[in-house]
């Protein structure tokens, strides 16, 4: 059940200058996404469902902190593998209340979700890992951890390069965390690293968390299956955190020792057992080709 659901027709009516498809592309935890036309190009309108609080005495409105960080992050990082903001953020009245909106590019290649199911070739998997880790490295260079790399947040541009969407729960390492120390790290449960299930004060999050998530989607691309079988809920956390992922998970899968090694390293339960530097991962990818 979505919080603060929006009437899609009301959204389209609130943005008459955009030709909006009222059938949303998606409705996430905080925002709705609509395909729209902007100057002849397709784009994506994102509308934050939660209304803005009333303006203060001086008439200023403040964006919800997580949204502000997400947008600042997208603006600060210019990388072809990471989604950009092309217009906004701004505020518009939708259904009688002020709501934040902004525009992102529309990526014609669809999401990774659309492309999963049948196994990918080794080369395609390596290309995917390489491109996603390049994007994660750029985020890391800006002291940002995406924390929500999953098939639905990976789209493909016109040249078929993967692009990471949605910094909505990203961790900005130089900013005060928005979750309490006694809380858990924000996550999508079936696309989360073991440390995201730990109490935040007892663990740390860094780019190696993103490497784990890249490992999950790479495994899915290679095999068509999730490596830890979240649909079988019982014991999922144990499988995730106790290192149940091993070579056995790849039994019967056409995977070279080289690719197995990369997947095992990405999916290692301990952060120190993953790649300490992106260049180490690149070396291993090159060695696999």
């Amino acid at each position: 059940m979505l919080t603060n659901p929006l009437d899609h027709a009301a959204v389209a009516a609130a943005f008459p200058e955009f030709s909006i498809d009222v059938d949303p592309l998606g409705c996430g935890g905080m925002k709705n996404a609509y395909r729209m036309e902007r100057g002849g190009d397709l784009a994506v309108l994102k509308v934050v469902r939660e209304p803005l609080p009333p303006a203060d005495d001086e008439g200023a409105v403040s964006l919800p902190e997580r949204i502000r960080r997400e947008i600042d992050g997208m603006r600060a990082i210019n990388h072809r593998g990471i989604v950009q903001v092309i217009e906004g953020p701004d505020v518009r009245e939708v259904e009688g209340e002020d709501r934040v909106w902004y525009v992102e590019p529309f990526y014609a290649g669809g999401t990774l979700t659309d492309r999963l199911g049948s196994p990918w070739s080794h080369g395609e998997v390596l290309d995917l890992v390489s491109a996603l880790s390049d994007a994660a490295e750029e985020l890391a260079n800006n002291r940002v951890v995406h924390r929500d790399i999953k098939p639905g947040n990976i789209v493909f541009d016109g040249e078929d390069n993967p692009v990471l969407l949605d910094l909505g729960i990203a961790y900005f390492q130089d900013l005060t965390p928005l979750t309490e120390g006694w809380g858990h790290s924000p996550r999508t449960p079936s696309y989360a690293a073991p440390e995201q299930f730990e109490l935040r004060r007892r663990t740390s999050i860094d780019f190696r968390t993103d490497l784990f998530l890249i490992g999950i989607v790479a495994f899915e691309a290679l095999t068509g299956q999730h490596p830890f079988n979240p649909s079988e809920g019982e014991g999922y956390l144990d499988r995730l955190a106790t290192g149940a992922f091993d070579g056995g998970a790849l039994d019967g899968v056409d995977a070279t020792p080289c690719i197995r090694n990369i997947l095992q390293r990405l999916l290692a339960p301990g952060m120190s057992q993953r790649f300490r530097k992106f260049e180490f991962l690149r070396d291993d990818i090159e060695a696999c080709r």
């Binding site: 440390e195 663990t203 301990g270 952060m271 120190s272 993953r274 790649f275 300490r276 180490f280």
Partner: protein, 383 residues
Amino acid sequence: MTYWAQHGYGKSDKLQVVADHGLLTGVVLSPADEDQASLQATGAQLQAQGSQILMDPQLYVHTIRGGVARCHESHGLEFGELSWFMAPSDIEAQVRSVREANVEVGTPAVIAPSPYQATFGDVWTPISLQYGRAMLEETDQPVYLSLIAEDAAFADWDQTQAYLDALTTLDAAGVYLVVGHSGRTYPFTWEADRLANVLRVIHILTEYNRYDLVWGYADLAGLAGLAAGASGAATGWYHSLRMWSPGKWIPQTGGRQANPRLFVRNLLSPLDSAGEAVSVARTSVADQVFSDDGLRDHFRQDLAWGIADSWIQHMTSIAELFSELDIDTQASDRVATVIGLVTEALELLGNAEAAGAALSPSHRSRLESLRAGLRLFAEAEGL
């Protein structure tokens, strides 16, 4: 080339003799045991002969109650009162003094100082990481992070792994590992599970995180460390240079000198020279035990074996043993090789005992523990 000598008091010509065998990769210098001028000369001589040098800053001595590091003052290593709530400026000053001491001695890389950690959750743990971080900021030279911890710290794998997760955020060239033992009796018998976790730490730091790793005071266990991925392992002439214990740093009075020992390669054991070595040399399996006929006959005749003989023989034997392991092979192959060596030694030990040699049961238990540790490590890391 994997053998490092652990330098200590009274080096005399020992390092030179081992270097002459062509088996000395490097030396971990001890500023507690030689003043600056002398250590400078030692370092220069070793480097001129092609050996690497590192200097253990030994800050940990000052976290041991009653610990004394005799010559630190001459190196400008004034660590003063250490506490777990030290100011960052104090840490920076200490790190600077370590860098300057290294500059004086002429080391090409710097080992960061660290307190001695009883567990990976004690008050010194965060500080130990801060020393590493401060040293990385202090110098452009390659930095070896210090991991100085009691063997009991490795009993808790979850805590160990949490520490590794933090340590591996530091972009250093290498790690200098010292594992302390609360007892002082040499030779030391590892608890297999702790050894296995030490080997996991070595493997994770080297094979996964690509740190260079030198295991100080490792002695025979260094062979397992090399199999796990260490690039070097050290031992020295005294027993206290072959196993690290806090007691080493507390001045003692009295006590008798340890019996000279003979390291027997085929048994992977340091036998007591007066009793055990003579006993085994007179059995029917002596030819299998001693690969050196001269040594066999020496002990068969119960000839004199002085402490200086035993020091040199131990270091050169360990160095030869380490050099036999091909570190360019896969870790799984190296581990299998070492397990094979230990298994052969155990069999030979059994044959010697059956042939009437009077040997301490500690040799068997030590080798069994070593093998069990290797097996546990291999299983845990999927090798």
